[in-house]
């Protein structure tokens, strides 16, 4: 698999604070790649750099081999990079259909086509019945789907999902996972930032782990879960040893 997106030695500093430190990673085409890490590890910052909402202090981001570091967000969207927001950002005053259409207009200038495309996308994420509701009236789960639908409506090649499962209850998560899988199966590459571990294990083909601004591990979900540095990063210093001891003892 070739890399659709490459992050090359990205560093992001805010004043004296280094949020992302010399991070490099690749997102292979056609797969679901996860970016995980404990709270405050820098994954949101790295995600913002990738999606173009922050300009990195140093380093480059490449997409299909092109340097896109300096491209603005909307140009990235035109090139086929879409994103969702962790804190859902619906256009509250608009209906679900109109919300999705804003994304669809990127590829369809005409109203009828854009609305039709919006309807089709809604079906893919299971929002068909809510199409004429006001977006502000949706449940949290509905809004998460709307985030997904709007991004999909831009017909992306690469979809960046920012904690799309956070805030959902277990049954809602179970409903959402197949939706995301299906998107991957339709040929859209996905990079997902997540801290719901169950989802990551289920969904991702490969996972990158970030802690204290540094990428510390990379591999399949199973590999990463066994990595002592990862366990330590999540559970605190010494946790990996204790865990190993428990496993060894058992």
């Amino acid at each position: 698999m070739s890399a659709l997106l490459e992050v090359e030695r990205v560093t992001m500093r805010f004043g004296g604070l280094t949020a992302v430190d010399d991070a490099s990673m690749a997102v292979p085409e056609g797969a679901i790649t996860g970016l995980i890490g404990p709270n405050g590890a820098g994954k949101t910052t790295l995600f913002a750099v990738i999606s173009g909402f922050l300009a990195p202090t140093a380093g480059r981001v490449r997409y299909r081999g092109d340097d896109i570091t300096d491209l603005s967000v909307h140009v990235r969207a035109e090139r086929g990079i879409a994103r969702t927001f962790q804190v859902v950002q619906p256009f509250a005053g608009l209906s679900v259909r109109e919300n999705i259409a804003v994304g669809a207009y990127l590829r369809h200038a005409a109203r009828e086509e854009a609305l039709a495309a919006a309807g089709a996308v809604a079906e893919r994420v299971g929002l068909t019945r809510m199409l004429d509701q006001q977006a502000g009236a949706l449940t949290v789960a509905g809004r998460k789907r709307l985030e997904l639908a709007r991004a999909l409506a831009t017909e992306p090649t690469l979809l960046l999902l920012d904690e799309v499962l956070a805030g959902l209850n277990p049954s809602e998560i179970r409903d959402m996972i197949p939706v995301i899988r299906r998107i991957r199966d339709d040929g859209i590459t996905i990079l997902i930032v997540e801290h719901v571990m169950q989802a990551v294990m289920n969904l991702c083909d490969r996972v990158h782990v970030i802690a204290q601004g540094k990428l510390i591990a990379e591999g399949t979900p199973a590999e990463v879960a066994r990595n002592p540095r990862v366990v330590e990063a999540y559970l605190g210093h010494g946790a990996a040893e204790r865990m190993l001891r428990v496993q060894g003892g058992g």
């Binding site: 999606s51 909402f53 603005s72 967000v73 909307h74 969207a77 035109e78 879409a82 994103r83 969702t84 927001f85 950002q89 619906p90 256009f91 509250a92 005053g93 608009l94 109109e98 259409a101 804003v102 994304g103 207009y105 990127l106 200038a109 109203r111 854009a114 709007r150 991004a151 409506a153 831009t154």
Partner: protein, 323 residues
């Protein structure tokens, strides 16, 4: 036929407005109607940027005044026919909009900051217009009375009414068309959430600048009509805060971000305003200056606080039709 359906309500309202000068023949009433239509037109300009785009300007006088002064100066100083001066004046309004928009939006001014900077621009225009010789300085500029349709002056007030209505109608149809198209969707997306819009491929800066440019053009057209109707301008009239306030009150009270809002708002405000003034005058035997504006201020607060969709939002049936 179905292609016309979204426009049917607008055409119906325009038809009603067109009949008014036939029903009301007094000069006072007809002047009132024309003035209200001009305010509604300026309000349409504001509404495009403020209602649909969410960028609240406190300085639409910049555009109104530019349109008004441009047509008056081209006509009186350069001898241009007002019909030819009209598109130039509207273009200049658009240009002022583009320049202010580019400066303000590039600097990422939003919310209160944008409101204040537009206000400051209008004040600068006002001070400059008050000293420049070409604007007549403080003496203002008078468009000479020369009643001739070729000269934009009509013996019959109804003709001017219909002309103003033609502009208003064209703008309403345009706004409705924009509302139903890509630009409108993007503009509203920018109002609702800039980051989300950006992520969906919307060039937020360009959309905002396009909106303020168009907004400037529409409000400049209102300025042109004002100048041609009342034939006199000075800096306070053209660039004064009154029109900035009128232009934002009409759409907010009528219904923010709707095609009918500015029209409804203008008629309700000025209707109530005139009635109040008359009522106070008969009650106290004299005019009480400013009472209408006190009422406007109260209505503004009530609307913002308790009826954010304006009067239109209180009329559920109409809202469905307008949607």
């Amino acid at each position: 036929m179905s292609a016309l359906r979204p426009y049917a309500a607008i055409l119906a309202v325009l038809a009603v407005l067109a009949v008014l000068p036939v029903v009301f023949t007094s000069g006072t009433m007809q002047n009132f109607l024309i003035f209200t239509l001009i305010v509604a037109l300026a309000g349409q300009g504001w509404n495009l940027l403020g209602g649909y785009g969410g960028q609240f300007s406190f300085g639409h006088a910049s555009f109104f005044g530019t349109g008004a002064y441009a047509i008056a100066i081209l006509q009186e100083r350069l001898g241009l026919n007002p019909w030819l001066a009209l598109p130039i004046a509207i273009g200049l309004g658009a240009l002022v909009g583009a320049v202010i928009g580019t400066l303000a939006f590039r600097a990422r001014l939003r919310g209160s900051y944008f409101a204040l900077v537009t206000l400051a621009f209008a004040e600068v225009f006002r001070i400059v217009a008050n000293v420049l010789p070409v604007t007549g300085g403080a003496a203002g500029i008078l468009i000479r009375l020369n009643v001739d349709p070729l000269n934009f002056q009509f013996a019959d007030r109804a003709a001017f009414h219909w002309l103003t209505l033609l502009f208003l109608g064209a703008v309403m149809l345009l706004v409705r068309a924009l509302e139903r198209g890509r630009f409108g969707a993007r503009l509203v997306a920018v109002r609702e959430n800039e980051d989300a819009a950006r992520a969906l491929g919307v060039d937020v800066l360009r959309v905002k600048i396009a909106a303020i440019t168009l907004s400037g053009a529409i409000t400049a057209a209102a300025g042109c009509l004002y100048a041609q109707k009342f034939l006199y301008l000075d800096a306070m009239i053209a660039y004064g805060p009154w029109i900035s306030v009128e232009a934002l009150l009409a759409p907010i009270i009528g219904g923010l971000g709707t095609v009918f809002g500015p029209v409804l708002g203008a008629f309700v405000l000025h209707g109530i305003g005139e009635l109040t003034k008359t009522w106070i005058a008969t009650l106290t035997g004299g005019a009480l200056p400013g009472v209408d504006l006190v009422l406007f201020g109260v209505l503004l607060i009530i609307t913002v606080g308790f009826a954010p969709r304006g009067i239109l939002g209180l009329l559920p049936r109409l809202r469905v039709r307008a949607a």
